[in-house]
């Protein structure tokens, strides 16, 4: 019970910390919307030439576009690491590793708070703007909400690993770039994964990145059998969090606290 209260607090702190920067979030939402409009026109031109491509109608392709623009904030599609990355560089991570609450759950609670705020500030505006300017389809499956949350958890699991990797590599910038490259391309942010050719599509659709963006968007469109998609997301969430827990144990051994 005490644990639950602690994580609820952390969730609230994550939410509040990000809500301080409302202007920044709204500017981000505006930029995401502008990019959404540009992407939507390209997709419309493509779908007008090839109706029914990847199993989407034009309205579904436009919906996909604005939904995924809205995922950029909560799912951190640019692959930015977690805030404790700086603490690894400064060495403060040593304190975090010996706290009575595990670092993994601690940062998960905080990150969910952040995502909850960004859902309001950065997901709703592009979706509403898209619905006003273009034709979008309403959600088909009630499981979208669950799939959306699982997408955030998978994204957290991935970013946790990327951030913690800095305990072993001296320069974490390359790692972060690689992460944003993979996330952006294989999640469906660049183009719906259904457009990818042959093996590239197979790889992308099996990757954890698909579980962050493509799968929740498809859930909204009602394109997939919901339970196998949710199981796919759950698999990646458990796998990445499990790996994160193992890596945290390894980090505890690796980090040396200098006396003095």
């Amino acid at each position: 019970m005490a644990d639950f209260v602690l994580y609820l607090r952390l969730f609230q702190y994550g939410f509040r910390r990000h809500s301080t920067y409302l202007a920044a979030a709204l500017a981000g939402a505006f930029t995401n919307t502008v990019f959404g409009v540009l992407r939507a026109y390209v997709l419309i031109a493509l779908w007008e030439a090839r109706p029914g491509l990847a199993g989407y109608t034009i309205a579904e392709a436009v919906t996909f576009c604005f939904l995924t623009q809205g995922f950029i904030g909560p799912m951190q599609v640019f692959g930015r690491g977690l805030s404790f990355g700086d603490r690894i560089r400064s060495g403060d991570i040593a304190f975090d590793l010996v706290r009575p609450a595990p670092l993994l759950l601690w940062s998960l609670a905080e990150d969910l708070g952040r995502a909850a705020y960004l859902t309001l500030a950065r997901s709703l505006p592009p979706s509403i703007a898209g619905a006003v300017m273009f034709t979008m389809v309403a959600p088909v499956s009630p499981w979208f909400a669950l799939s959306f949350v699982l997408g955030i958890v998978v994204s957290f699991g991935w970013r946790y690993l990327v951030t913690l990797a800095a305990c072993w590599t001296t320069d974490d910038r390359g790692m972060h770039t690689l992460s944003s490259l993979l996330t952006f391309f294989f999640s469906g942010m660049v183009l719906p994964l259904g457009l990818f050719p042959g093996w590239l599509r197979t790889v992308a659709e099996a990757s954890p990145f698909a579980a962050m963006v493509q799968v929740p968007a498809d859930m909204w469109l009602g394109a997939d059998p919901p339970f196998s998609s949710l199981a796919f997301q759950l698999f990646w969430a458990v796998a990445l969090l499990g790996l994160g827990a193992l890596l945290t144990v390894a980090a505890r051994r690796k980090v040396v606290v200098q006396g003095g």
């Binding site: 202007a23 930029t31 540009l38 419309i44 493509l46 952006f184 183009l191 050719p197």
Partner: protein
């Protein structure tokens, strides 16, 4: 000019001290921008023309817009970090130094790794050059220079906006990075209103679209007047003038945060 070169060179030497990191940055800058070309490639596995333009022609548009943007970004793009400097108080120190704050901002943290982006766009442009007829090739360097001026002006306008909106620097991204994304595809895929907007209000259509209509010998799909395709230098100068005024106005009304 001399000041700019000196400052930029200092930063290049600083970043070259960490060789691996420097190499990784160049490669990542190359790879991240290559994703857009891969996306164009994937789109063209499903269609032969997009908005009436072939793959080579789209690559020509991508390459010219990309090279212009990469040059503007490398030379002056750091100006977009103005709000960070304002908040940290480091902009104040720039104001009291005997070099123009614009030059200092542009050269500060000069990112030589952005050469990766330039190389990537230049390769795409090189591959697309066979669509350019010899008699019209003179327009290619003209449009690249105009594009650099236009994007630099957009960066400067975005920075000037940050004097007012210190907390929302990302707003400028919609016009800078949004601008280069817009120019990657033929404007014929976008709606007529949007195209009129980027022709007459924020003249991004002159970065590559209007001159490219001349180079590729195409009629304007929106029926805009034919002389516009030669108007890129005029549009670039006008926008640069507006940007310079906005920047000066921003500096004049600037009040230090006191930190």
């Amino acid at each position: 000019m001399g000041d700019y070169l000196l400052l930029a060179w200092t930063w290049v030497r600083a970043s070259a001290q960490y060789r691996t990191s420097f190499a990784v940055s160049i490669i990542s800058s190359f790879a991240i921008n290559a994703l857009d070309v891969i996306a164009i490639g994937i789109v063209f596995t499903h269609v032969t023309t997009l908005g009436g333009f072939s793959l080579r022609e789209v690559m020509f548009l991508y390459g010219t817009g990309g090279v212009s943007f990469a040059l503007a970004d490398m030379l002056f793009g750091n100006i977009e970090r103005l709000s960070q400097h304002i908040r940290a108080g480091t902009f104040d120190t720039m104001l009291i130094r005997p070099v123009s704050p614009f030059v200092q901002m542009a050269a500060d943290g000069f990112g030589a790794h952005r050469i990766g982006r330039l190389a990537q766009a230049a390769i795409v442009l090189g591959l697309a050059l066979p669509v350019v007829p010899w008699s019209r090739a003179w327009m290619v360097p003209v449009m690249i220079v105009c594009g650099v001026v236009i994007f630099t002006a957009v960066f400067t306008l975005g920075a000037a906006l940050q004097f007012v909106l210190v907390d929302a620097p990302e707003l400028a991204n919609a016009f800078t990075y949004g601008g280069v994304t817009l120019t990657q595809y033929p404007l014929s895929v976008y709606g007529g209103q949007l195209v009129r907007g980027v022709t007459y209000i924020v003249p991004l259509a002159f970065v590559n679209w209007q001159p490219a209509l001349y180079v590729l010998g195409r009629p304007d799909p929106f029926g805009l007047p034919g002389w516009l395709r030669f108007a890129a230098p005029l549009a670039a100068l006008l926008l640069a003038g507006v940007a310079a005024l906005a920047w000066r106005a921003g500096i004049r009304r600037y009040r230090s945060t006191g930190s």
